[in-house]
């Protein structure tokens, strides 16, 4: 059984600087005034820190249920010609799914609430802040929050012994990209929502992604045409990227997945800024 990714040159070397990557999203994305929007979130959540802590439980639930339950029934899974215990195979998939869910949850309900109910952006946009500052600032926050959860997730993975190789440290910056991709698109989608009823579409989209994106089993389970369909979906990109990094199976295709996710986030960010201008500054 193979992972289904394009076989290519393995580039284990020079991808990682010693000491691991430094996560400084503020420095990466902290363009001009966007950080003011980020700071507002910090102040809001300083009061509601319990909402932040609640997110830490998710990895425990996922990993415990899969590790104690499902893994007993499933044998080793072969990826890239190597055999891995099921828990090691599935953990990075769950990490990707968790990053997606966190991003979607944070960027749909919260953004809709602030946009339509609380009118937070109306007052922001009466200041020198512009729509793209708002979009960037909210994304920065979503990515940081997502990164925090993913960091905890990876620690829990390590504590349970579900980590593939030490390359798992690369999963953290990669998970930030996953968070960026899904946060951007979720925000853009939210800007089109008219009422709370429209959130049914979110679950309609997120659940099949969660279940069918090679999260729980390799892509090769599917017939050929379905593999092609799944390869096009975003969570598949995230799962494959994180799994490849965690298991140390470096192929050039990982860069393709990364590019897909970054493009998705950038597109989402651009659409969000345009929609904000249309909605709040008619």
């Amino acid at each position: 059984m193979t992972s289904g990714t394009t076989p290519g040159a393995i580039a284990r070397h020079d991808l990682l600087a010693p000491g691991g990557p430094r996560i400084t999203p503020l420095a990466l994305l902290g363009l001009g005034r966007a950080k003011r929007v980020f700071q507002r979130n910090v102040v809001v959540y300083r009061r509601g820190w319990i909402f932040i802590v609640s997110g830490f439980f998710e990895p425990f639930f996922y990993l415990v249920s899969i590790g104690l339950g499902l893994s007993k029934l499933v044998g080793a899974v072969h990826v890239g010609g190597q055999a891995f215990p099921y828990t090691v195979f599935v953990a990075p998939g769950l990490l990707a799914a968790s990053a997606m869910n966190g991003a979607i949850f944070d960027c749909t309900f919260k953004i809709f609430f602030q946009l339509k109910i609380m009118k937070v952006y109306d007052s922001m946009l009466s200041t020198p802040l512009g729509p793209s500052d708002v979009a960037k600032g909210e994304l920065m926050w979503a990515i940081c929050r997502g990164g925090l959860y993913c960091g905890v997730f990876i620690c829990v993975m390590a504590a349970f012994g579900y980590v593939g190789t030490p390359w798992v440290v690369l999963c953290l910056p990669a998970a930030l990209c996953v968070s960026f991709a899904f946060s951007g698109v979720a925000m853009a989608g939210t800007s089109f929502m008219r009422s709370w009823q429209d959130f049914d579409f979110v679950f309609l989209a997120a659940l099949p992604l969660f279940l069918f994106s090679a999260t729980f089993y390799p892509l090769t389970v599917y017939p050929g045409w379905l593999q092609v369909v799944v390869r096009c979906t975003p969570l598949y990109q995230a799962v494959t990227l994180l799994r490849g990094l965690d298991l140390g199976l470096f192929t050039w295709s990982l860069l393709g997945h990364l590019a897909y996710l970054l493009a998705m986030g950038a597109a989402g960010m651009a659409v969000t800024a345009r929609r904000l201008a249309r909605l709040v500054l008619p």
Binding site: R36, V44, K119, T127, P282
Partner: protein, 303 residues
């Protein structure tokens, strides 16, 4: 400070602002009056760079809102029609965070916030959440928030709508103080007493156009008489227009009231008595901006 020439704004089919001209000079308090849907808020939002114009020319603080939006907004304080306070933050944090949107240093915001809370009489509520505040308190906080950047131009869209008389008078008092400090105010309102109290100059808008402009006193002089005699009759039992002919410059017959616009209400009342007309009650009052407003925009309810 603000100059508009043939300023035009439409939302798809609806023409909101129909080729209006006006100039607002530094230090004055300028009012936009008009019924709902007259185009006041649309005009405000264009001045505040929160809505692009559809046509015409607009200059705010010597800059073009289309290209210099953030620079203009940095020098404007906006008090929108609906309070858009950050309900997830405390009173003080509303000021602190809003100040950060203007890139002001924390220390400066802190100092200003303390004096603005004093100004808005909210010092004791500084660490409370915004939600339980009364309507008047929220309004004062919104004004304080708009002042955190020490704007050259303060735009207030219906600042006292929905407030009780005490809260309105307190707010007027605060606005007077700002005016005396040299802040240019732009106020939209449909309260005539508010416009008379606060505005040096105003325009009356109706259906997107400017129907009249001038100082409150000059508008009253031009569009109304010095006094108004109001006579109340039982429903549909009032006198005919003929019976009142010649008593006043203008007569308005309403279902249970008659309004006589005249130089002297007492003299008109004597003449009414002499003609044998006996109202249920009567009242002589000075003409107000409301009379101007109603004569210009009509009595039909606009929604």
């Amino acid at each position: 400070m603000v100059s508009a020439r043939r300023l035009f704004k439409h939302f798809e089919e609806l023409v909101a602002v129909d080729h209006v001209d006006f100039d607002i000079v530094r230090g004055e308090s300028f009012g936009f009056l008009g019924p709902n849907g007259a185009g006041k808020t649309s005009t405000m939002r264009m001045i505040a760079c929160m809505s692009p114009k559809s046509g015409g020319e607009l200059t705010v603080l010597g800059m073009d809102p289309e290209t210099r939006g953030p620079d203009i907004r940095a020098r404007i304080g906006l008090v929108p029609q609906e309070d858009s306070l950050d309900l997830q933050l405390t009173v003080l944090d509303n000021l602190m965070i809003y100040g950060r949107y203007f890139d002001l240093p924390k220390k400066v915001i802190g100092e200003r916030a303390a004096s603005l809370l004093e100004f808005a009489q909210l010092t004791e509520r500084a660490h409370d959440t915004v939600e339980p505040l009364s309507g008047g308190m929220k309004r004062r906080l919104t004004i304080a928030r708009a002042l955190i950047s020490e704007p050259d131009l303060l735009i207030l869209d219906e600042p006292t709508t929905g407030l009780d008389p005490q809260a309105r008078h307190l707010l007027w008092d605060r606005l007077y103080r700002l005016k005396s400090r040299g802040v240019t105010l732009i106020i939209t309102t449909h309260y005539m007493d508010e416009a008379e109290q606060l505005c040096d100059r105003l325009v009356v808008m109706d259906k997107g156009k400017i129907a009249a402009s001038g100082s409150p006193a000059s508008l009253i002089e031009r569009y109304s008489t010095r006094e108004v005699l109001e006579l109340r009759f039982p429903p549909d039992a009032g006198p005919s227009r003929n019976a009142l002919a010649g008593i006043a410059e203008r007569v308005e017959l309403l279902p249970d009231r008659v309004l006589l616009y005249t130089e002297s209400g007492d003299r008109a009342l004597a003449e009414v008595g002499a003609r044998g007309i006996t109202p249920l009650t009567w009242l002589v009052r000075r003409s107000t901006l409301e009379d101007v407003f109603l004569s210009l925009t009509g009595r039909t309810l606009i929604d």
